[in-house]
Structures are given as structure tokens and as C-alpha cells.
Symmetry: C2
Subunit: 125 residues, 2 copies
């Protein structure tokens, strides 16, 4: 049974940002050893290193507000590309930051998905 890419993307985005905002270390099981993150140009590989980066960002509380979610199937491997734009409000800051982020989700043998590729950029609006 194929899964609807739009449904996969929506469920992933809801789960990812609510987990990020509540408990960043809970993102670990969304990544695997071959996962890649490029965060503001810095390249990081592997679930452990990626979560270490995300949990060490210089802010404690934050709130993502998603503006747009676009998705496409990435090819015969069953992957899904997810492209997100939104606002990131940091605790104690007056103005939200705009961000764009893309994920390449790959199916697992268990019928779930993990993040193979993750690229994040602030737009400094």
C-alpha cells in the first residue's frame, strides 16, 4: 500500500515541530546514522551528532509556526521531500525569525519514515 505523500508530510511536520518546541532530545529517533543536517551552512551527520547540535542551540524555549508545507515523492525509493516555511519565535525576543527547511523522508522497514536529509536556513527577514 502506498502512502499519500501529503499525509506523510503533514503528520511529520506536526510531530517534528511540536517535539522540537517541547523536548528537542526527543527528535533523536527521527534520524539515523546516515542522516545529514545542514544547519545554517554547518554540516552534521548522524542522529547523535544532529541531536547534540539541536539541543545546544543558544536558546531554551522556542515556538515554530508553520506557514507553508509542500511535498513531492522523491523517486522510486519511496522517499518524500518536504519543504517548510514559517516563523520561529525565540523566548524573550520581540520579533519572530523567518525560516525555511527541507526534509527528505525515507521509509523504514517498519513502515515508518526517518529523516535522511535536513537543511535549515533562517531568512533574516
Amino acid at each position: 500500500m502506498g502512502m499519500d505523500p501529503d499525509a506523510v508530510a503533514k503528520a511529520f511536520v506536526d510531530h517534528y515541530y511540536s517535539t522540537f518546541d517541547a523536548n528537542r532530545s526527543g527528535l533523536a529517533n527521527l534520524y539515523q546514522d546516515n542522516s545529514m543536517l545542514t544547519f545554517e551552512g554547518q554540516k552534521i551527520q548522524g542522529s547523535q551528532n544532529i541531536v547534540a547540535k539541536l539541543t545546544s542551540l543558544p536558546f531554551q524555549q522556542c515556538q515554530h509556526s508553520v506557514s507553508t508545507v509542500d511535498c513531492q515523492p522523491s523517486g522510486p525509493s519511496g522517499g518524500v521531500l518536504v519543504f517548510v516555511s514559517g516563523n520561529l519565535q525565540l523566548a524573550g525576543e520581540q520579533h519572530a525569525l523567518k525560516f525555511s527547511q527541507m526534509f527528505h523522508l525515507m521509509p523504514t522497514p517498519q513502515g515508518s519514515f526517518y529523516v535522511l536529509n535536513d537543511i535549515f536556513r533562517l531568512n533574516y527577514a
Copy 2:
């Protein structure tokens, strides 16, 4: 021989935006029949339909200025993910628009790459 994803991404981005700004119909040979474009939420498939969309955008002259290019290999298929942010200046408009765009480039049997996935969003800064 593997190709360096950063070199592929840089060469592609230079070629794509210079072609877009000079002669949009010249983009046709970068797409194939299975190529997908999501343009501000509108889904379009196939080289012919994609170029028809791009050439019918409601502006004649534009100039892309690329701010950031990030890339990652997309998996064992030899694909390259390219994530771009930048400014789009339309002729006659005072302010440039910010944009984000992602491409999934796939290798061709001829040793080149084509665009399998393309997602474009304006950030309305």
C-alpha cells in the same frame, strides 16, 4: 567516478538562474517528463508544462541574486539535493522579493543531471 555534490550544486545553480533570467524557455532541457514543480503551492508535472508555467509568470524581466546554496547527496541513486535562498528583483519593482527553492537533481545516463523535484516559495519579506 563520483561527482562532488557541492560542485554539482554550484554549477547547476549558476546555470539555472542565469538561464531563467536571460531566456526562461531554455530551462526545458533541465526537466524531463517525470519532473515535478511545486510553484507557490501549485503542482505541475513534466518538462513541457513546467516551462509553460515559468514562461507565463506575470513579469518579463527578473534578476535572481543567490544568497545561500546548501547541498547534500540524496541517497544511493546518486541524486543531489540543492537548497537555495536569495532575492528576486522584478523589473519596475522597488523592492526585491525573498525566495527559497529546493531542487532534487538526478543523474542522467549521459553523465549530466536533470531536475526531478523543484519546489519554489516566496517568503514575502
